[in-house]
Symmetry: C2
Subunit: 327 residues, 2 copies
């Protein structure tokens, strides 16, 4: 049996409350962005059985719920400030689960410098549902838009693409060929990438300073890049051979070539797609290098063309299912 709502708040969530949240003993919190800065707001909702596995470690669920929001903030060039947490607990949720969830939340709040501004704890007859609203800040007027690219802009993707989607495949087919043939360290790396995204918070300043447009890769590289370009009336010849993959993802694709489209179209990468004006490209790459995250050039935005994905031989690849939809 879990504690009451008020006991849960006092025990689990009050320790990470923001100063403006009054120990979570109020119905609201107050907040102002730092002088000269705008707030940036984002909200992602995660449902057990849909966005994570009900049996995942509660600490990992909490951290993933927070990190997918941090990923959105990073893509907008925003430095994180804090968040609000809505959680619907399932009938079978016990206090041990809640304590572990809160511990994961507190660990990430500490490592990303986030404060909790309040929220709501309710119960549901359905699956555990976590709804986080996260806040960050940018210089006034400086939120980087998804649809801000112009023709001629350079296109980049950060980090590596495909690990999380391949990790999900391993979760869905634990006895499958991939699980059987992949080396244990690669299997672990892919599973971990799915369980615990690494939001590119360290790149927020570089994005804010240099990007003309950006978004995070949550629904798949192919679909998200298509959205970012075609929504702005642009296209590109995207070089798939320049899209970086981890050794684990490369090993997986060597086992089964068809997994390349899983890697490219699957979701949950939480890497950043970034467009920069040509004159800013070098500075952006240097800033990413300085932050320890590679930024790979994958093409240039252009007018009057479609978004095309071409392989090393110059052949256009068609992804019939361009984007993973959580919905």
């Amino acid at each position: 049996m879990p504690l009451s709502e008020f006991e849960i708040i006092a025990r689990c969530f009050a320790p990470i409350a923001a100063p403006g949240a009054f120990g979570l003993l109020d119905d609201a919190a107050s907040l102002s962005p730092p002088p000269g800065r705008d707030l940036v707001l984002t909200k992602d909702m995660l449902v057990a059985g849909m966005h994570f596995f009900p049996g995942d470690p509660p600490a990992a669920i909490a951290r993933k719920a927070l990190r997918v929001n941090l990923s959105d903030l990073a893509a907008k060039g925003a430095e994180p400030i804090g968040f609000m947490l809505g959680i619907a607990l399932a009938r079978e949720t016990d206090q041990g689960w809640i304590d572990a969830f809160a511990a994961g939340l507190a660990a990430d709040a500490a490592s990303y410098g986030l404060a909790l501004f309040g929220g709501d704890t309710v119960s549901t007859s359905g699956p555990v549902t976590v709804s986080i609203t996260a806040f960050g800040s940018v210089p006034a007027g400086g939120m980087v838009r998804r649809l801000g690219a112009s023709a001629g802009d350079r296109l980049f993707v950060t980090g590596r693409i495909g690990d999380a989607a391949l990790g999900l495949r391993l979760r869905l087919e634990p006895e499958g060929e991939l699980a059987r043939l992949l080396a244990p360290e690669h299997r672990e790396a892919l599973l971990e990438a799915y369980l615990l995204p690494q939001p590119r918070t360290a790149l927020a300043a570089a994005v804010q300073r240099h990007a003309s447009a950006a978004m995070d890769v949550s629904d798949g590289f192919v679909g998200d890049l298509t959205k970012m370009l075609s929504g702005a009336g642009l296209g590109a010849r995207v070089r798939l051979d320049r899209v970086p993959h981890s050794p684990a993802a490369q090993a997986a694709m060597a086992i089964d070539r068809d997994l390349e489209s899983v890697a490219l179209c699957g979701g949950d990468d939480y890497e950043l797609l970034v467009a920069t004006p040509p004159g800013r490209a070098n500075d952006f790459v240097a800033a990413c290098d300085a932050a320890g995250v590679p930024a790979s050039p994958i093409g240039d935005a252009a007018e009057d063309v479609a978004v095309r994905f071409v392989d090393a031989e110059g052949r256009t690849r068609d992804f019939t299912r361009g984007s993973f939809s959580h919905f």
Copy 2:
């Protein structure tokens, strides 16, 4: 079959998007409070079967989800600005339901002057779940606290107490004595009060200007007032005969005296509990009158005493179950 997530957003939610939400075509929105003001943030989560009936009209569900958040803002003295919407749609949710939900949301957004700043639309194997984060603003440093009262402060409750809890009773016992004996117009009034709260947005300025402490009555008059006072180390002799009830609630309590504790301890009133310094009491009452909402004096906050509820004959009433918990 509902439309896709992106089609739903474009069709249903984009029309009420805030300017800073970029037509909901981005992953985040930007927002700054007006100069000299703080943002006030609140978040309430509603689950079908827990906070509303699955068969309630979708427009009413949307409006209730928004209004319970507006009620929190009003209690903090905050003028509303906008909100973010997270919604988990159930397997059986069809497009007609979503359209009606969005129409209710748009109607209330228009009448309360709110803009939509974004959110997330997902699906769930469980009940429909709505998570709203609402934003308002107060003069810098001016958010009215729940625990801000001092000894000697006058205590008020706005509007009328008990209608929604009695309306819920009618929903739960549609063939019960109350439903059978109550006049149709009273029955309708109570049912409507449960279905569609009236947040006291019109009183936000009066609260901000005059209150030392305030909270909204969501979990029951008795329990919430006890929280507001005892959390501040205060008590009071609360005059139950001064707690206002509507003609419909009076008629219900005349049918069954036991319903008085339902009215006083039930939830969902969304009236305001307000403490004012003695010198501000008259101004507060006048401001409420000017806004067309009665503010009833129910006692004075005091030190070194418990929160006691006394009836017209001066007898202390004991409410064994002081507060309705949604949880």
